[in-house]
Amino acid sequence: MDKSVKFGSTHGGIYIHKNEEIFIPEFVQKQTFITAESEVKVRLVNALIKCYKSGSLVNVRRHIAVSKVSNISEKCIFEWSGEHVSLADAELIMETDPAVYYFKTTLIYNVFKYDYKPAAEFVSNVLGKFS
């Protein structure tokens, strides 16, 4: 029985990124939200989960994404706002005007778990599109 709820556009093959797509790293050391920015972090996680569910997923593979920020690898499964979130190993394409970004799904987990704060322009565009 198919229990799955299909998300937005997905590409389950080998997707070779276009030159104009800007890659956002899944984590950068010392680039984190401070306590005073916790509200922005919450809004960003909400927006990224919305992007994951309704945006364009490429290079979708059939295992749970793994975060390797800490010494121990962690499956990207977490509870958020009373919802169980599990992230497939994949990349997201996010089209904004004028930039098109791509990033690994592990970025979402690393914002949630490690307070990762991606580049300001990216954060602004994600919030602008998915808040």
Binding site: I16, F23, L57
Partner: protein, 154 residues
Amino acid sequence: MGLSCKESNDKRGPVFAGHGSVNTSKSTVVPEGTSITFFSKDGAVITDDLGVAIENWEALNDSYHRTFEAGESIPLYCLYPTCGALNIQPTSTQVNRATTIDELLKPDMGNCRWAACTFDEDHENADLIFHTDGVYKKINGEFFVEVDGKWIKA
């Protein structure tokens, strides 16, 4: 790439679909009347497209595959629920919690298929991506495909 072992049982059994992993330090035995075919090497991943082809019983004769027959020892594979990102076929068997293969395989199931990854992030094959048209790996953000034992930029 190459063919490891042919699917030999004519009776089609369940296709187990979703997210997957393997624990090669533990094992179980395939029950009588049952066999199971995998389409990726232990430690590696499959694309969602390959998963769909497996689920639809495409022959995949030119793709890597390995069948374990009844009585053979196999590593302890684990199936996880899908998350909405996968294109799971309505005829496939899914789980609603992490379930190891010793709980999934029963006697006289016929030939089963595994339409999930066999992923282990610490395994030497962890960077291999099995797809419908070959085996890929990603190096410094670029895809390479295996051709005659060599890695060629895709």
